[in-house]
Symmetry: C2
Subunit: 168 residues, 2 copies
């Protein structure tokens, strides 16, 4: 019995040692690992970059939704809250879309048809055509949405799901 | 007393309801949120895109390290394991570098001086110059490393920290 107890203690120490080995902790304290969702839907599978998003859109034949936002922008934050909590939006995005959220602009000018503001939602067809025709209700910022615009966003998502025919 | 109990029950129900509201769960079951580190160092602050990495490199005057890898590549996985567990590498990267890991190629051809293989590590100076001169020990794949090459990687990180002078 004593033997078993001793072995158990050794085992405990080994487990403790192995779990602290190779665990760098910054001077400022342990950080919560960053997520790719950045709060826009932790259950969705997010593309990391525009190139990756385009690749998945083409290969899965699903439209790509690109969300431009900023972590410290109150308009982005307010929209993010209702967006992440809307089960219908999350479900449709998960099943029928490729999703990408970006806090930096891409080199592709087609993703900023009327300027580089946030929040800004652009849809891209699997034919790699940016759907500049799918707009919100603000004439000066045609691709922005406010928390009260989720119904319009959903109907725009429906439009995006009607794929353009490739002429190739 | 009964009244308080009743109120407490109502409160409990409200808490239970609010915590399940707006929690979309995929048919296939709950997923673990994706991290930006993808296992290369959960405590590091990762740039999401090359554009973001370049921006931080310039503004903080720190070299950028770009890691190209693939989730299902055994060479990437083996290197990732020793890389993430090496406290010295993690500390230097955290304090002196901007870091970016990518599973898709960028449009910038300078990041693939001798081809698009993985794993592949490129350093970029804050002057936005890709340091093609900082190479590993494989003549056919000059920017790849194996798990046994961490010392070489560390000395290459030292080289990258000696910044090029901007001629602007």
């Amino acid at each position: 019995m004593k033997m078993i107890k001793a072995m158990f203690s050794v085992l405990l120490v080994l487990v403790a040692v192995s779990s602290t080995f190779g665990k760098y902790i910054p001077k400022s304290g342990k950080r919560i690992p960053q997520t790719l969702s950045r709060g826009w839907g932790d259950q969705l599978i997010w593309a990391q970059t525009y190139e990756e998003g385009l690749y998945w859109s083409r290969s899965k034949n699903k439209p790509l939704m690109v969300l431009f936002h900023l972590e410290d922008c109150p308009h982005s934050q307010a929209l993010k809250k209702v967006f992440a909590e809307d089960d219908e939006i999350q479900k449709i995005l998960d099943e029928d879309f490729i999703v990408l959220n970006l806090v930096y602009e891409t080199v592709d000018k087609n993703l900023s048809p009327d300027g580089k503001y946030v929040p800004r939602f652009l849809f891209v067809d699997p034919t790699m055509t940016v759907r500049a025709d799918i707009t919100s209700r603000y004439s000066n910022r045609m691709y922005t949405y406010e928390p009260g615009d989720l119904q319009l966003l959903k109907s725009n998502m429906k439009k995006a799901k009607k794929l353009l025919k490739s002429e190739l």
